[in-house]
């Protein structure tokens, strides 16, 4: 009997104006979203690829260890057209060097005026809002409409239990939503696959499937809410208004109000405070370096004997690159390097700690917003999909944590090669074997300028690049599929629980309801 009722409901729905309009709207919105977001993804991927090759080329040209400064890039998430999440909130690259610790920074701003009020039209947003509305519209008159027409009493006069009627209505309604959902996702997937740069791996298909599954669970939850409202109200127009009120409140207003409330409950100190404190730290650093310099003045030398010199600042022994210099100068620079670089790195650690506080307060705030948002099934749904798509905040924050780990690995690598606090940091020459200024003067007096030039050498052009083939690569291991699915489990689980709760609620309400018109 359940199937009969379900089939009747399904056929009823499919033949209505409502369904047709819903189908057309879905097709238009899904294809619009897919087209726009695919192009956007293509652009982002192209920017990522050019950034990666640009950065790789820069590193390959390093001739001394001081030049190893890497910028690591975050690959745009493949499923970000499906669920944008925090993808565009955070920066897509991080600078990694000896004295710069990568920390959270924000992404570039949106420049389109009208994207301001409706931030994203990713697939999940469309399902959350438009299909959610449709689900409610299919269910609001499932009971009140039938009661008004007197049909409900007729159905129950047969040997069919109320539970069976309920289940039949529910199945019929949810099965109506299924083609809308599947056709929409199929159209979007088709548009993505026509893009030359998008290629799905098996795990991506898996996650897309999981997102579809969670979408179905979400829509069924909303359908059940509509059914409950329908059972509890006297006539269709009242249930319509209540359903729309519920939609506005729970799908649109509450998820955003939660974010605002979180902002109030856990206000974040603005990043500029950490910036100002870091600037203070750097001033301290400069003072220390200046003090060291005043205690260790540069030995007397001649400029003509120095070649290929690029330093932190004129008289300070904090070299970046020196091709050739007399021994006493080089030794002075080397001692200075050991002090200044160490100090710089220590101060970088202190600055990094400040920014990590900022990062963790942001993460806290995001968590509070997420918890408050659990009041709304729409928020639960969006958060679960963000985890599946890999665009939730903790996955994106992981990028910065990975960048910090990579920096440590790089520093360890350079230290192993004895390139950090040693001459190899800034010069290819062997310092012990260098002549002093006096030696060079003698050579010049005896054998002339040409001899001096041949001792000094031709310059950086003659130095070959460092052999960095065993340098650790930036290769953050992507999260395992199992772990990612696990992380979405709480939200998805609550959605399933809500479904059961609402169904039981509907059953109880229906048992007590008066079915006469």
């Amino acid at each position: 009997m359940i199937w009969t009722i379900a089939r009747k409901q399904l056929l009823n729905n499919l033949l209505t104006y409502k369904f047709l309009v819903g189908l057309v709207l879905c097709l238009v919105l899904f294809s619009l979203s897919a087209v726009v977001l695919t192009r956007d993804y293509e652009e982002r991927l192209a920017a990522y690829n050019s950034a990666v090759s640009h950065h790789a080329a820069t590193v390959r040209q390093a001739k001394v260890y001081s030049q190893i400064a890497v910028t690591v890039d975050r690959r745009p998430a493949l499923l970000s057209p499906v669920c944008e999440g925090f993808e565009k909130r955070f920066a897509t690259s991080a600078d990694v060097s000896y004295t710069v610790i990568p920390t959270l920074s924000a992404g570039q701003a949106e420049k389109n005026a009208l994207m301001v009020t409706l931030k994203s039209i990713d697939l999940v947003a469309i399902i959350q809002i438009v299909l959610g509305l449709l689900a409610l519209l299919f269910s609001y008159d499932s009971f009140s409409g039938e009661r008004e027409r007197g049909v409900l009493a007729l159905t129950l006069s047969n040997r069919v239990s109320r539970g069976a009627v309920l289940l039949g209505q529910y199945l019929g309604g949810t099965l109506t939503m299924l083609p809308l959902l599947l056709i929409g996702i199929a159209v979007a997937a088709l548009i993505w696959l026509t893009s030359p740069v998008i290629s799905f791996h098996p795990s991506d298909w898996l996650f897309l499937g999981l997102i579809t599954l969670v979408s179905l669970i979400y829509l069924s939850a909303l359908f059940l809410v509509g059914m409950i409202i329908s059972i509890l109200t006297r006539n269709s127009s009242t249930s319509l208004v209540m359903v729309l009120f519920f939609w506005v409140l729970f799908v649109i207003l509450i998820p955003n109000a939660a974010a605002h409330l979180a902002y109030d409950l856990r206000p974040i100190q603005a990043k500029y405070v950490a910036d100002a404190q870091t600037r203070e730290l750097r001033r301290e650093l400069y003072k220390r370096i200046d003090f060291y310099t005043s205690q260790h003045p540069r030995p007397i030398h001649k400029w003509e004997f120095i070649k290929g010199r690029s330093v932190y600042s004129g008289r300070t022994p904090y070299p970046i690159m020196i091709y050739f210099a007399p021994r006493e100068v080089m030794l002075w620079e080397l001692e200075g390097l050991k002090f200044c670089l160490q100090q710089d790195m220590d101060y970088a650690e202190k600055g990094g700690a400040l920014y990590r506080d900022y990062e963790s307060s942001l993460a806290d705030q995001a968590n509070i917003a997420a918890y408050l948002g659990k009041l709304s099934p729409a928020r639960l749904y969006y958060d679960a999909c963000a985890v599946f798509a890999g665009t939730d905040s903790s996955n994106l924050l992981k990028f910065f944590a990975d960048a910090r780990d990579y920096r440590r690995a790089l520093i360890g690598y350079v230290q192993d090669k004895n390139g950090l606090l040693s001459a190899a940091y800034f010069t290819p020459a062997d310092v012990e074997k260098l002549p002093t200024t006096a030696d060079l003067d003698a050579v010049k007096a005896e054998r002339g300028q040409a001899a001096v030039d041949s001792i000094i050498g031709t310059g950086w052009d003659s130095v070959s690049a460092l052999d960095l083939r065993d340098m650790p690569n930036w290769d953050p291991s992507p999260e395992q599929a199992g772990r990612r699915a696990n992380r979405a489990l709480p939200n998805a689980g609550i959605l399933v629980f809500l479904n059961l709760l609402f169904f039981v609620g509907a059953h109880v309400a229906f048992l007590r309801a008066d079915v006469r018109a």
Binding site: K18, V21, L25, V28, L29, L32, R39, A46, A47, S50, A51, F86, R89, F90, S105, A106, Q108, A109, E110, N112, A113, L114, V116, T117, L118, K119, S120, A125, Q128, V130, L133, L137, S237, T238, L240, V241, M242, V248, I252, L253, N256, A257, A259, H260, D264, I268, A270, K271, Y272, A276, R279, W303, E304, G308, S310, Y312, S313, M321, G459, W460
Partner: protein, 467 residues
């Protein structure tokens, strides 16, 4: 007679569930959104003042050598938040508030905070509540105005009296609109009161003028949707069909059309991405730097021996003479690339905006964000003023620093004149008066939608079968 019908409508609506729910939503969310946005504005303002203060300190204590050692010395400027942003957040939270004015270009600085608006719809500001919630409820109030009466049989009774159809339509319009506008006006006033109590000076003439314009445009906006609902109701014969059609109309006008506008603009007038332009500028600047360094080297101006102090002065002068044409070329090249990109981007954005403004939602959003001084024109003004500031700095600062890239040797720098960081001109953003922010075109668009819907409603009702 119009007034009698209107009275009946008002009485009917005031006692209905719809009105109650709308009133509840409005009176809770509008003052709440105004208050939260005010707090956000205060936070942004204090952030800004703090950071500007610390910047001034920094500039005052800056050593000239620090200017040298920075690879690309630049000054940070910030976009001051607008008090009227309590109504429409617009670009306030997402457009770069921080620009870095350097020698070659004005770049986006790091955002002051990772956006606080972490919702799908951005944050709930007043604009959002009116644009989405009120328009939806406006359609809900009117979608069954005619069809419900037809189904109840009362439409025949009314028209059996000497009531002409236009009179009926006008009465419904007046009555229904009053009950719709009432929650809006009441919650708006409650919101202003809340702001006043929280310490904002609401009666300051500029702010008050902007508030008035925002209210007027909101009332016009919801009138358009009310009429659209009424139009749908007068065109179909069953409440059910009216519901489906009016919701479809709402979704299309509010969600689809504005987006379709910007998409069409992107397809019609594509523009190179930021990244590509930045790379172009970089390679042009580098190429000219190389040539400049070589020219200075060829002129023999990089001595092998250490010159004396006065020789150094003469040397610098000679160097800057040789370098001058290259510097000019660099500036011209960058200006050309930038100008080209900006022009194309502006064309694309304008086109997208124009197309989107054809829909009442787009027009309303544009009007409200301009009124709140957080719209695209305000953002453009900031960027343009930043460019002008760069010209000023070019004179005072950048033209005095010369940087030479000598091929095969390295990088060296020089000064052609004295620099005193503490006396550099400060950046000031000109504020626009309320009456200059009025985007008349948007009001005209809303009015034409209103009139078109009115005319079509009267027409549809004239042919309506009332049995």
């Amino acid at each position: 007679m119009i007034w009698i019908i209107a009275q009946k409508e008002i009485r009917d609506n005031l006692l209905s569930l719809r009105f109650l729910l709308l009133f509840l939503l409005a009176v809770v969310f509008i003052p709440a959104s105004l208050y939260t946005n005010y707090r956000a504005y205060q936070a942004r303002l204090s952030d800004q003042q703090q950071v500007e203060k610390s910047n001034r300190e920094y500039l005052r204590n800056l050593q000239v050598t620090q200017i040298f050692t920075a690879a690309n010395f630049a000054i940070d400027i910030y976009w001051p938040p607008s008090p009227a942003s309590v109504f429409a957040e617009g670009f306030e939270d997402i457009h770069p508030r921080h620009l870095v004015v350097g020698k070659n270009s004005v770049e986006y600085g790091a955002p002051l905070a990772v956006g606080s608006s972490m919702g799908l719809f951005g944050s709930i500001d007043y604009l959002f509540v009116v644009e989405f919630v009120f328009s939806l409820f406006a359609i809900l109030m009117s979608f069954d105005a005619i069809t419900r009466e037809k189904e109840n049989g009362t439409l025949r009774s009314i028209l059996a009296n000497a009531v002409s159809r236009p009179v009926l339509a006008t009465g419904k319009l007046v009555g229904g609109y009053v009950t719709l506008a009432l929650p809006l006006v009441v919650s708006f006033l409650v919101g202003l009161l809340t702001l006043q109590l929280s310490g904002m000076s609401v009666f300051e003439p500029e702010f008050l003028a902007r508030a008035e314009w925002v209210l007027v445009s909101s009332l016009l906006y919801i009138a358009v949707f009310f009429l659209l609902g009424l139009l749908v109701s007068s065109s179909v014969s069953s409440t059910y069909a009216a519901l489906v059609l009016s919701l479809a109309v709402w979704l299309t006008v509010v969600l689809v059309l504005p987006r379709a506008g910007s998409l069409a603009a992107q397809l019609w007038r594509p523009v190179k991405s930021d990244q590509v332009v930045w790379l172009e500028k970089l390679s042009a600047a580098n190429a000219i730097e190389m040539e400049k360094g070589k020219a200075v080297q060829d002129a023999g101006l990089f001595p092998k021996t250490n010159p004396s102090a006065e020789e150094w002065g003469k040397l610098q002068k000679r160097r800057s003479e040789v370098a001058a044409p290259f510097e000019d070329r660099a500036v011209q090249a960058i200006r050309r690339i930038e100008g080209d990109y900006r022009r194309r981007k502006a064309e694309q954005v304008d086109l997208g905006l124009t197309l989107a403004r054809l829909s009442p939602a787009g027009a309303f959003v544009n009007f409200a964000t301009e009124m709140s001084d957080t719209g695209i024109r305000a953002a453009d003004r900031f960027t343009n003023d930043a460019e002008q500031y760069r010209e000023v700095l070019q004179q005072e600062l950048f033209s005095k620093i010369l940087r030479y890239v000598i091929p095969g040797v390295g990088i060296t720098m020089g000064l052609t004149g004295p620099i005193n960081p503490a006396t550099l001109s400060e950046f000031r953003l000109a504020r626009v008066r309320a009456r200059d922010s009025v985007a008349g075109v948007d009001i005209a668009i809303l009015l034409s939608w209103f009139l078109a819907a009115a005319v079509l409603t009267y027409g549809a009702l004239a042919r309506y079968d009332v049995r």
